[in-house]
């Protein structure tokens, strides 16, 4: 099943009065179960592509379908619902809510989905187990190391079993040992649960683990490499 399907994808945005052509016609597909990375130097357009695939931004031209829906025709609210139902995000800076406990942070997407309280609890505990943080549900983010926080973020992304998890430089803030642990978890999830992962990165470690790497330069695909 095709999770992301982009055709002649164009994204321009204004910056200080001039127009930046971030993506200049990208045609790309990702299938369910992939563990793929978009790579390229800063300003290559890899993050822009990830944001478009994550329905966080609107495209300028071409077509893009995410989870089978053509995103160009969706309203802001419909986009929010699409993200809520089908997508998971992992950010470079973890972006946990500091006032909430680990349990509550992971529960947040389920709360938005309106899942019942007991079910939330069960699913959160399971997600915690999957990322190896059993027993830490009552902690606050600031009481944890960076790696632990990123694991919480992964649990938050996978707890609703999305069709696609988008990870924007997930290891950039971690040292290589911890980064490797994080990636191992994600690989395991991909293998065991079939969760689809799409990274944007320039970390060789991530590229090591990725089974497919799409190189982007100046808004265009340079190379699409499948290992």
């Amino acid at each position: 099943m095709t999770v992301v399907k982009a055709k002649d994808l164009i994204k321009d945005y204004g910056l200080n009065g001039s127009t930046v052509h971030a993506l200049r016609g990208i045609t790309l597909e990702f299938q369910s179960g992939e563990f793929a990375a978009i790579a390229g130097p800063s300003g290559s357009g890899k993050s822009t592509f990830l944001h478009l695939a994550g329905c966080l931004d609107t495209l300028t031209g071409g077509t893009l379908s995410v989870g089978g829906q053509d995103v160009a025709n969706l309203s802001k609210k419909q986009l929010a619902l699409l993200r809520r139902n089908s997508l998971g995000f992992i950010f470079q800076a973890y972006n946990l809510i500091p006032v909430l406990t680990v349990m509550e942070n992971i529960a947040f997407p389920l709360t938005l989905l309106g899942v019942g309280k007991t079910e939330i609890r069960d699913r959160v505990l399971q997600a915690l187990q999957e990322v190896g943080l059993e027993g830490m549900e009552k902690r606050r983010p600031k009481e944890m190391s960076g790696g632990q926080q990123q694991r919480v973020a992964i649990a938050r992304a996978l707890v609703k079993r999305p069709a696609l998890i988008l990870a924007d430089e997930p290891t950039a803030n971690l040292d290589s040992k911890i980064g490797r642990e994080i990636l191992e978890i994600m690989v395991k999830l991909n293998k065991n649960a079939g969760t689809t992962f799409l990274f944007s990165t320039h970390d060789p470690l991530v590229m090591d683990y990725a089974r497919r790497i799409v190189y982007i330069r100046d808004g265009q695909i340079e190379k699409d490499q499948v290992k």
């Binding site: 931004d57 993200r83 995000f89 950010f91 500091p98 909430l100 529960a107 947040f108 997407p109 309280k117």
Partner: protein, 573 residues
């Protein structure tokens, strides 16, 4: 979005408040102060309003009045000529229907004492009826209330004091000396009078004297009743209580002749068509004398013509006769309603019937009406609706095969108090502006707090939106947060306001000195002690109101956050 998710978002709002303690406390304190001040001022105003209204009803007007429609139309001029007869019948009917009724003839005049004069509003009353329904009669502080058949007046205490009538309560040394110098007093009398006073506190008096001020004496308030009576008797004996009322008797009378220029200039243009026709019939022009002469007409026609002239405001139809009435001051009224204590006098109605009085011949200007079940602490009852009273009157008259004359009607106390009610509205309005200003500042604080909170959490907001939070949920979360801030502050404010209010309601603040300086006229009908009143609606209402206002104050900062691109929110540092 179901309830569970709302609940979860609310929890987040709570936690956020807890995280930003200093800011939360500061904002809460601002709201607390503004709410407390508002509650305090509102209680104060409510107390003054309630007391004023109660006083007006129980000390001044009764709940309603039977009066001629013409008097009511011209009430600001106090048209003493707008009288009516047969009030005894109306009183009896009202009595049968469960109402007290008290007749009054109200007129203005000047009261001359041995030392000065003052303009006075005189109420000629039936002392028995008055005692039954008007509470001021229980506040004759010194002396006694008037009795039927005596040429006597009970005066507002402040005015009596000013005119040096009755017993002086705070005489300056020379005033007391003057009294004691009277040849009509024996040495024993003099000693007795001295014994009734004590010098005002030595220290204060000394200071006053040093500044060239006067030594004052204060009447002892704990004397036996007999002593007060004796004191009053001595004041009587030296002539201190002999006063003269100078006034004008206004009579409505159809003029025998009207000068041509007045007829043309003053009367004719003010008349309606049929009134012109009527007067044209009753009067005839004598061209040589330049006068319109009355040529005769039926009683009904004469009455209608007079009515027309009064309605047209024609001065020639009202004759003024100077009158001087000698009376004795028998009492000093000092009631909780200052309107009774300044420039007001009460006379027996029955002494004013003939040439020695006001030529009333059974006429009164009004009949005050009050539900018998209502007491001095009560406002009005449903029975005191003017329509209900009128219906009762009409039923009673029908039983006697009579009808209510068309010129009479029943008016509610509020109809007479436009000035006061206007003042009340203005006063409460202006007092509230101050608290609104405080409110505004406090809630501006909320807006600012929320703006900072939202700015600080830009990245968090970006993440939550990325995770599928809709704009609606975003508004909900942060408005709840602001609302909680409002509720918390308001709850504390209510607590503080109520704590301040307890003594305000229980004891009040004494302003009687200031009141005296202002001649008793502060608009509110409250004498001396100003007390607050619990106003439950404000106390309960301020919390949700504060919550709603706070939430609304968060609206604009949230809108700013909602308009931001998610990607740029996420990049925000």
């Amino acid at each position: 979005m179901n309830f569970a998710s709302l609940f979860e978002l609310k929890r987040m709002a709570f936690r956020s408040l807890a995280r930003h303690k200093a800011k939360t406390i500061l904002t809460c304190a601002a709201i607390m102060v503004s709410v407390a001040v508002y509650i305090f001022m509102d209680s104060w105003i409510a107390g003054m309003e309630r007391e004023s209204r109660r006083n007006i009803i129980n000390y001044e007007l009764g709940a309603a009045k039977l009066q001629t429609k013409m008097y009511f139309a011209k009430k600001d001029e106090m048209p003493a000529y707008e009288t009516f007869q047969d009030w005894e019948t109306y009183r009896d009917i009202l009595d049968e229907s469960g109402y007290h009724a008290a007749p009054r003839y109200v007129f203005s005049g000047t009261l001359y004492s041995a030392t000065g004069s003052a303009p006075i509003l005189f109420n000629a009353v039936d002392p028995t009826a008055e005692k039954r329904m008007m509470a001021y009669t229980g506040y004759v502080e010194l002396g006694r209330f008037i009795r039927e058949g005596e040429f006597a007046v009970a005066l507002g205490a402040m005015t009596a004091e000013k005119l040096k009538a009755g017993i002086p309560t705070r005489p300056a040394a020379p005033e007391l000396e003057e009294i004691l110098a009277s040849e009509l007093l024996s040495a024993a009398d003099g000693d007795f009078i001295r014994s009734c006073y004590e010098a005002s506190e030595t220290k204060a008096a000394g200071e006053n004297l040093a500044e060239g001020g006067e030594l004052r004496f204060i009447l002892k308030r704990n004397l036996p009743t007999g002593d007060f009576d004796r004191l009053w008797g001595l004041m009587d004996a030296i002539g201190r209580n002999d006063v003269r009322i100078s006034t004008v008797i206004d009579l409505k009378a159809l003029p025998d002749s009207i000068r041509w220029d007045k007829w043309v200039g003053e009367l004719w243009p003010e008349l309606t068509g049929w009134e012109q026709a009527l007067l044209g019939k009753l009067y005839e022009l004598d061209e040589e004398e330049q006068l319109y002469f009355f040529t005769g007409g039926g009683e009904d026609e004469k009455a209608a013509a007079l009515e027309a002239m009064i309605r047209a405001g024609f001065s020639g139809a009202i004759r003024h006769t100077n009158q001087v009435i000698d009376v004795k001051v028998v009492g000093m009224v000092n009631s909780p309603d200052p309107a009774n204590n300044f420039n007001v006098g009460y006379l027996p109605l029955d002494i004013l019937q003939d040439e020695a009085g006001m030529m009333l011949e059974g006429q009164v200007t009004e009949l005050l009406i009050r539900d018998k079940k209502m007491g001095a602490a009560d406002m009005t009852s449903p029975l005191e609706n003017p329509k209900t009273i009128r219906a009762a009157l009409e039923r009673g008259l029908a039983r006697r095969s009579q009808t209510l004359p068309s010129e009479l009607d029943v008016f509610f106390w509020m109809d007479y108090m436009e000035d006061y009610l206007g003042y009340e509205a203005m006063e409460s309005g202006s007092s509230r502006i101050f608290s609104y200003l405080l409110f505004f500042l406090a809630f501006f604080g909320i807006s600012n707090t929320m703006l900072l909170a939202i700015l600080e959490r830009t990245k968090e907001i970006g993440m939550m939106r990325a995770l599928g939070m809709t704009t609606g949920q975003l508004y909900f979360t942060f408005m709840i947060e602001a609302g909680l801030l409002g509720i918390l502050g308001a709850a504390l404010g209510v607590l503080l306001g109520c704590l301040i209010n307890i003594p305000m309601v229980k004891y009040g603040i004494d302003f009687s000195g200031m009141l005296e300086e202002l001649g008793g006229n502060i608009g509110y009908r409250v004498a001396g002690n100003f007390r607050g009143a619990w106003k439950l609606s404000t106390i309960i209402g301020s919390i949700p109101v504060a919550a709603v206002i706070s939430s609304l104050m968060a609206f604009f900062p949230i809108r700013g956050a909602a308009k931001k691109e998610i990607t740029s929110s996420l990049r925000f540092e």
